[in-house]
Symmetry: C2
Subunit: 326 residues, 2 copies
């Protein structure tokens, strides 16, 4: 009902860096009118260049009816950019003070029912909605680069965000071929970036300690975990690595390694409660599919994925170099 009343037709994009431009390309490809604002010199030219770069992929993915690059308009002021928009996507640099002041102007000029989605990768929505006239329509809608291809978007509600707005946002982002993931609790870094950041920090430690070069770290991920993560993420991956008994066996076998100094990251206490959360989580996720059935599917997938990786990146790894060098 609510969705019918507040159709999203016009979208404003405030801040046109790599992420803002990624949003613009996706919105245009999905057949929307997009109004953009960015005070930086040459912003419009950079955006056009970014769209040109993205368009071939978007054509391959499939354009919506009426999708056209010329449905983008840059406005000279933030007021003109947002005043008629049904959804405003904010992508200014990751500084709390800057984001808050820009969001305050957006809030001042936007229609009250317009949704404001912040692309912040780390700041909590409750912080961003402080002092807004209409805080209930502010959410975090955090995408992943390249925004015009990767489907994940994390949706986070702040203390004052209304359920109706979250629901409209979820439906909207799902309607533009994205996978909206609703985050249950506000935390800095949300969900995906916390996971990425943990790996990223350990990677920096390893490079810093001279254990590996950046290229070797990349190779260690590409040809091992990366292939599996693209497929089923860390939990189901371990569920399958556990053999017939799945995650239950996995935790028995590798639970103890949590105590070892394997990373610079301190592990949580593997309490029975946590164990059950993890085990039942995987078992629920797996549903009626047996481990053997999942393995079959995983294998078929990995064989194809491996072909794909090899066809695109045959020469760019540390391991290749190792073999060539000898």
């Amino acid at each position: 009902m609510d969705n019918k009343i507040h159709q999203i037709n016009k979208i404003a994009v405030v801040g046109t860096g790599v992420i803002g431009n990624g949003w613009i390309a996706r919105f245009l490809a999905q057949g929307f009118d997009v109004i953009a604002f960015d005070p930086a010199e040459g912003a419009e030219q950079r955006t056009q260049k970014a769209i040109d770069q993205a368009w071939p992929s978007l054509v391959k993915i499939g354009l919506a009816d009426g999708a056209a690059q010329n449905r983008l308009t840059f406005m000279p002021t933030i007021e003109e950019a947002v005043c008629e928009a049904d959804l405003i996507q904010e992508n200014v640099p990751e500084r709390e003070d800057l984001k808050k002041s820009v969001l305050a102007s957006i809030d001042a000029y936007a229609k009250p029912e317009a949704i404001i989605g912040s692309s912040t990768s780390g700041i909590m929505p409750s912080t961003l909605q402080e002092g807004l006239k209409h805080p209930e329509r502010l959410i975090v809608a955090h995408p992943f680069n390249p925004v015009y291809i990767l489907p994940l978007v994390e949706l986070v509600a702040g203390k004052e965000t209304s359920a109706a707005v979250m629901d409209r946002a979820k439906n909207f982002y799902a309607s533009i071929e994205m996978k909206p993931l609703i985050i249950r609790k506000e935390i800095e870094g949300h969900l995906a970036d916390r996971l990425m950041e943990a790996l990223w920090r350990e990677a920096l430690h390893l490079v810093n300690d001279g254990v590996a070069t950046t290229e070797e770290v990349d190779a260690a991920i590409i040809y091992g975990a990366g292939l599996r993560w693209a497929q089923m993420g860390p939990f189901l991956t371990f569920h399958l690595a556990g053999g017939e008994k799945g995650m239950r066996h996995m935790l028995e076998q590798f639970g103890p390694t949590l105590k070892l100094p394997w990373t610079k990251l301190e592990a949580p206490e593997l309490t029975d409660e946590l164990k059950e959360k993890v085990i039942t989580g995987c078992e629920t996720h797996a549903g009626d599919t047996t481990i053997a059935e999942m393995e079959e599917k995983r294998n078929a997938f990995l064989v194809e994925l491996l072909d794909l990786v090899e066809s695109y990146w045959p020469e760019t790894t540390a391991t290749e170099k190792v073999v060539v060098k000898q």
Copy 2:
């Protein structure tokens, strides 16, 4: 030269759990005679089942001339299993005391020039080679599940490992369609598992803190970072996320977030030296390829990968459920 003298024809696999069986399947598919030993009851039947499960994928990948399941023989004693082997792959449970005693027997019965590769995911080779008669032929050769498909194998030398053995091992694992990654420094967890473990620990914290379910964590990886990691790993991924200036810009922009409480993992100090290591590492890796060229290639790859993921895992994510539930 050395390689000619010590051809690897016969392989022994000691310990036939998920990893040991994965090795057996790969070795058989590569056309080797494999001798296996595992004292556990029903081990031989479980191994046959595992091979049956793996074989269709191996056929798809392509069997070597003469590859046959019946070239596997189980032996009743470890002595009979290893005495004629040119390479022995050890895969007993991840307990230092157990591994050391099994490796001592292997060392006692194996030909002096035979290579002993331990599949240990965390123990350092210098620890494992303590007290061996021929410590110079002991290396860590750590694979990833499913071993018969994933190409990555981490090779780690211990203090007493000879360069000739490492060289033979590297050539051997490369010859069976693997990507041998030589780890520069011995550390617990080697390289890949440290990275995986960092993400795994953060994931456990997030589930423990009620931020996400295991399925939501998986979705957060699959549709975001996972797709990128399968392609180019964390460093080159960020190099591209940095726009035209690549990693240099990335570190300027997101370096500060290292100070934020984004994970439970403490970040390293982002010194100029570390910055340079990371930046030049990425730039060297990228070589003459421009960011724009890499983006084009990345996009084409991601579009295909996304199709692949969708065709295999259309319904198994938290995000799908979110959309369906409403």
